[in-house]
C-alpha cells in the first residue's frame, strides 16, 4: 500500500489499545491520527501501579510505546481532542476534531513554577478524588506530552499568577477552542472504559463510607505517584490497615448493576492482596468471591497469592458493608461452612467492573451489544479495539488492538 495515496487511519482513544492500533498501523506505512480526550496518553493503564501476571509497573511498557510514537513521523498525536462530529463520505469519514483551548503551549518545559504559585486547589481526578492539586499541574509525573494543564473553570477571576511565573511564555489564558476538519479512510474506536461508579454501590458502603474504596483507587494508593506516595493507608485515619477485605463482583454479574463479568477483577484483587502484603506483611487480607475467575496462565497468580500466609479466600458475596465499632463490618455467608460472618475490616476494596466509555454518544453511530460494548462495522470502516469491544486485561487488549489495526488498514485501502 502506498501511504501517499491512502487517507489516514483515525484512532480514537490513546490508551494502551489505541496506541497499539496506531503504532501497528503506522509501522506498516500508513499515516495515522491518534486523538485523545485527556491531556496525556496511556489511558487507564497510566494510573496502574503494576500489571498482572508479571507484576511489573506499566510505566515501562508505556515508555517504550511513547518512544515508538515519538520516533514515528506517520503518527500525529492530538491530546485534549475529541471527535465532535463525523460524516460518512465516499472512501471513508469526514470528521471534525475539537481541540481544547491550548492554555499551555508546547513551549512548556514542565518546570513546575506555575503550580507553585497557583492559589486554587482542585480535586485530582487522576487519583480518583483521593487528593487535590493546583488548578495548573502536570496530570501525573510520567505524563506524555510533558506539558502542564489548567482546569480553567476553577481559576479565580482575573488571576494570572501562573502566567507571570512562566519564564517561557507558555501560558495563554485567553486561548480558545479550535476545530479541524479531516478526511480519514477508516476509524479505530479504542475508547476504553470507565470504572463502575462507587456511588451506585451504597449498600456496600460505596460513596458513603470513606474507607470503602474501589479497585482503581487501590491502584493509585499503591502507586508511588499516588495520593499517599505509594503507601496503602486507610483514607479516614491515614493509618496502615490491619485487616483488608475485598468484595468481588461488586456491581458485576448483577442484573441491578452490570450484568456481565469484567474478567479482570479477580486478578486485580489478588494483585492488590500482594500490594498489601508487600507493604504490611502482618495485615490480614480476605477476598470474598462468588467464583475465582483466573483463566489461563493467570491461574498461577491465584495459586501463588491465594496460598500466602494471611490471605484468605472465602466463597460468598458480601451483602452489606456497614460502619461498626472499631471499623467496618461486612455481612456475608461463608457458603462452604454454611454460616453467616460479620467480618471486621479497616479497609474495604470493592472490585468494580469496567463500563464501556461513551455508550450512546458516539458521533459515528457505532452499534453496540446489549451490554454497551461497541461492535465492528467493517462496511462503514469502523473497527473497535480493546475494552471498547469487550472487557479484557491489558495483554488481551493489546492483542485485540493489533488485529484491529489490520482490519482498519484493510478498510481504509478498500475505501481509497
Amino acid at each position: 500500500m502506498n501511504d501517499q495515496d491512502s487517507l489516514p487511519v483515525l484512532v480514537v482513544g490513546a490508551g494502551v489499545s489505541g496506541i497499539t492500533a496506531a503504532l501497528e498501523a503506522a509501522e506498516t506505512g500508513a499515516s495515522v491520527v491518534l486523538v485523545e480526550r485527556q491531556p496525556y496518553v496511556g489511558g487507564r493503564v497510566a494510573g496502574f501501579y503494576h500489571y498482572f501476571p508479571k507484576m511489573c509497573p506499566p510505566s515501562c511498557g508505556l515508555e517504550i510505546n511513547v518512544q515508538r510514537l515519538e520516533r514515528n513521523p506517520r503518527v500525529r498525536v492530538l491530546t485534549e481532542t475529541r471527535v465532535s462530529a463525523a460524516e460518512q463520505v465516499d472512501g471513508g469519514w469526514r470528521v471534525t476534531l475539537e481541540r481544547a483551548p491550548a492554555y499551555v503551549t508546547e513551549a512548556c518545559t514542565g518546570c513546575g513554577e506555575c503550580s507553585k504559585v497557583c492559589p486554587v486547589s482542585v480535586v485530582d481526578e487522576f487519583n480518583h478524588g483521593m487528593s487535590s492539586s493546583p488548578a495548573i499541574r502536570l496530570s501525573h509525573p510520567q505524563a506524555w506530552p510533558q506539558r502542564f494543564v489548567i482546569e480553567r473553570a476553577a481559576c479565580a477571576d482575573g488571576c494570572e499568577a501562573c502566567v507571570q511565573s512562566c519564564a517561557y511564555d507558555a501560558i495563554h489564558l485567553d486561548a480558545t477552542v479550535t476545530t479541524e476538519e479531516l478526511q480519514v479512510g477508516s476509524v479505530v474506536l479504542a475508547t476504553g472504559w470507565q470504572p463502575y461508579p462507587l456511588e451506585k454501590l451504597s449498600e456496600l458502603g460505596g460513596g458513603v463510607l470513606p474507607d470503602v474504596i474501589s479497585n482503581v483507587q487501590m491502584e493509585r494508593l499503591a502507586s508511588p505517584s499516588g495520593p499517599t506516595a505509594g503507601q496503602i493507608l486507610c483514607p479516614s485515619t491515614g493509618q496502615p490497615p490491619r485487616r483488608v477485605a475485598f468484595v468481588q463482583c461488586a456491581g458485576s454479574r448483577d442484573v441491578n448493576h452490570l450484568p456481565y463479568c469484567s474478567g479482570i477483577c479477580c486478578l486485580a484483587s489478588l494483585k492488590h492482596a500482594q500490594y498489601v502484603k508487600d507493604q504490611h506483611p502482618d495485615t490480614e487480607v480476605s477476598i470474598f468471591y462468588i467464583d475465582r475467575r483466573t483463566p489461563g496462565r493467570n491461574e498461577d497468580v491465584l495459586t501463588r497469592i491465594g496460598d500466602m500466609d494471611g490471605v484468605r479466600l472465602v466463597k460468598g458475596k458480601v451483602g452489606k458493608v456497614e460502619a461498626g465499632d472499631g471499623g467496618l463490618v461486612l455481612t456475608v455467608e461463608d457458603v462452604e461452612a454454611g454460616r453467616k460472618l460479620h467480618e471486621q475490616a479497616d479497609l474495604v476494596v470493592l472490585a468494580t467492573g469496567m463500563v464501556p466509555t461513551g455508550n450512546g454518544e458516539s458521533p459515528f453511530g457505532i452499534a453496540r451489544d446489549e451490554d454497551g460494548f461497541a461492535l465492528d462495522d467493517f462496511d462503514r470502516g469502523l473497527v473497535v479495539a480493546g475494552v471498547a469491544r469487550r472487557p479484557t486485561d491489558v495483554a488481551a487488549a493489546v492483542r485485540d488492538a493489533t488485529g484491529s489495526a489490520a482490519r482498519a488498514l484493510a478498510a481504509a485501502e478498500r475505501g481509497a
Binding site: 442484573v255 441491578n256 460468598g316 451483602g319 455481612t331 456475608v332 455467608e333 457458603v335 453467616k340
Partner: protein
C-alpha cells in the same frame, strides 16, 4: 475409599416447582447475597441460598424437613438485591405451598386447593350452594317478614350444625398435617431440648407483636397490615365465643345494642380487619420486586380473607341501610366465604399459621 453421597434430583419436584412459578431457581449461581442480606436468617443456618440450591436440585424431601422454609416471612430483602433476579422470596413462597400440599390430609383437599387457579369455582361455589340448599330445605330461603336480625334468616341451630362439624374436621386435618410436619422437622438436624409448651409461649409472644417482621426492609408495610389482620381475626373469634356465652349463659337478645361491650369489641375487630385488609391489598398491588409476585395460591387466600371482611362489614351495615333482600343475600355470601376460609385452612396459605408456628417452636427447641 470414602463414598460420595448420591444426590437424586426429583424431576417431578422440579416440574411442579416450574409449574407453580419457581422456574427462576435455575438462574441462581449461589453467590449468597440473599443469605447475607436476610435479617431473619439464623447465623448458624442462613437461608435462603441453601434452599434455592435444594429447589434447583429437586430436593423436595429435604425442603419439607427444613424449618428455614417457614422462618422466611417473604419480606423480599433478598429479592430486591438478588443479582440474578431469582426472586428467592417468591421461590420460598412456592416451596411453602408445595409443602402444604404434600402434608395435607386428606390429600385430595390439598390438591384441590393447590390447584385453585382452576378449581376456585368449586372452592368458592360449593359452600355457597350448601347454604342455599340448607336454607331452601329448611324453608328459610327468603326475606323473613319484619326483618331486623340475621337469626331470623339463618337460625343458630343451623349455623352450629354446619360450623361445629366443620371445625372438628379442620382441627383433625390440621392436627394430622401438624404432626407430619413436626416429625419431619425432628428427623434431621440437632435434637430438640425442653418442652413444646415452654417454647410455644415465647413464640406466641413473638407472633403477637410480629417482632421478626420489623427487621425486614423491603416488605415493611406488610408488617402492619398483617398484624392488624391477625388481631382483627383474634378479636372476631373472641367476640364469637363471648356471644355464645352471652346467648346461653345470660339470655342475651340479638342483635346486641351498639353500645354493648361485645358489640364494641366486634366492631373494633372489624376496623382492624378492614385496615389490615386494605394495607395488604395496596401492598399486593405495588412493586412486585418488593412485595413478591402473586401466584393463584396467594391471590386465592387474600381474596377469601378480603371477601370475608367485605361481606361481614356490608352485612352489618346493610341491616340498617340496604333493602332486606340485599342485606340477606350479603349475609348468605358471608357465611359461605367464612366456610371456605375455615375448610381451606389446612390447605391454603392460611396454613402458614400452623407451619410457621411449629417451625418457630422447633427453632427455639433446637437453638
Amino acid at each position: 475409599m470414602a463414598t460420595v453421597p448420591l444426590i437424586a434430583p426429583s424431576e417431578d419436584f422440579r416440574r411442579e416447582l416450574r409449574r407453580r412459578g419457581g422456574e427462576r431457581a435455575s438462574r441462581c449461581y449461589q453467590c449468597a447475597t440473599c443469605s447475607a442480606v436476610c435479617e431473619l436468617a439464623p447465623e448458624g443456618r442462613p437461608f435462603p441460598r441453601r434452599q434455592v440450591l435444594l429447589a434447583q436440585w429437586g430436593q423436595g424431601d429435604q425442603l419439607a424437613t427444613d424449618p428455614a422454609v417457614w422462618l422466611c416471612h417473604q419480606c423480599n430483602d433478598c429479592t430486591v438485591r438478588c443479582p440474578r433476579d431469582v426472586r428467592p422470596g417468591d421461590l420460598m413462597q412456592v416451596v411453602r405451598a408445595m409443602v402444604i400440599e404434600r402434608l395435607a390430609a386428606p390429600a385430595f383437599l390439598g390438591r384441590l386447593v393447590a390447584n385453585v387457579r382452576s378449581t376456585w369455582p368449586v372452592v368458592l361455589g360449593a359452600p355457597l350452594l350448601l347454604w342455599v340448599l340448607l336454607l331452601g330445605l329448611t324453608g328459610h330461603l327468603g326475606v323473613p317478614p319484619g326483618f331486623h336480625a340475621y337469626d331470623q334468616l339463618v337460625p343458630h341451630w343451623l349455623i352450629y350444625s354446619v360450623f361445629f362439624p366443620v371445625a372438628a374436621f379442620v382441627l383433625w386435618a390440621a392436627w394430622v398435617s401438624g404432626r407430619r410436619f413436626w416429625t419431619l422437622l425432628g428427623s434431621v438436624g440437632p435434637p430438640r431440648k425442653g418442652s413444646f409448651l415452654a417454647s410455644l409461649v415465647p413464640v406466641f409472644g413473638e407472633i403477637s407483636t410480629h417482632g421478626r417482621f420489623s427487621n425486614c426492609e423491603a416488605g415493611r408495610p406488610r408488617r402492619w397490615g398483617h398484624l392488624a389482620l391477625l388481631w382483627g381475626f383474634v378479636g372476631a373469634a373472641v367476640t364469637s365465643g363471648l356471644l355464645v356465652v352471652a346467648l346461653y349463659g345470660f339470655g342475651a337478645q340479638l342483635p346486641l345494642p351498639l353500645d354493648h361491650p361485645f358489640k364494641i369489641l366486634g366492631n373494633i375487630s372489624a376496623v382492624l380487619l378492614v385496615v389490615g385488609g386494605v394495607i395488604l391489598l395496596i401492598n399486593r398491588l405495588g412493586d412486585p420486586q418488593k412485595t413478591g409476585a402473586s401466584t393463584a395460591f396467594d391471590r386465592f387466600f387474600l381474596t377469601v380473607v378480603l371477601l370475608v371482611i367485605a361481606t361481614g362489614v356490608l352485612a352489618e351495615v346493610g341491616r340498617f341501610f340496604f333493602p332486606a333482600a340485599v342485606a340477606c343475600s350479603i349475609y348468605i355470601v358471608h357465611l359461605s366465604v367464612v366456610l371456605t376460609l375455615f375448610v381451606t385452612f389446612p390447605y391454603s396459605k392460611f396454613a402458614h399459621m400452623l407451619y410457621r408456628t411449629l417451625a418457630m417452636v422447633h427453632e427455639r427447641m433446637t437453638g
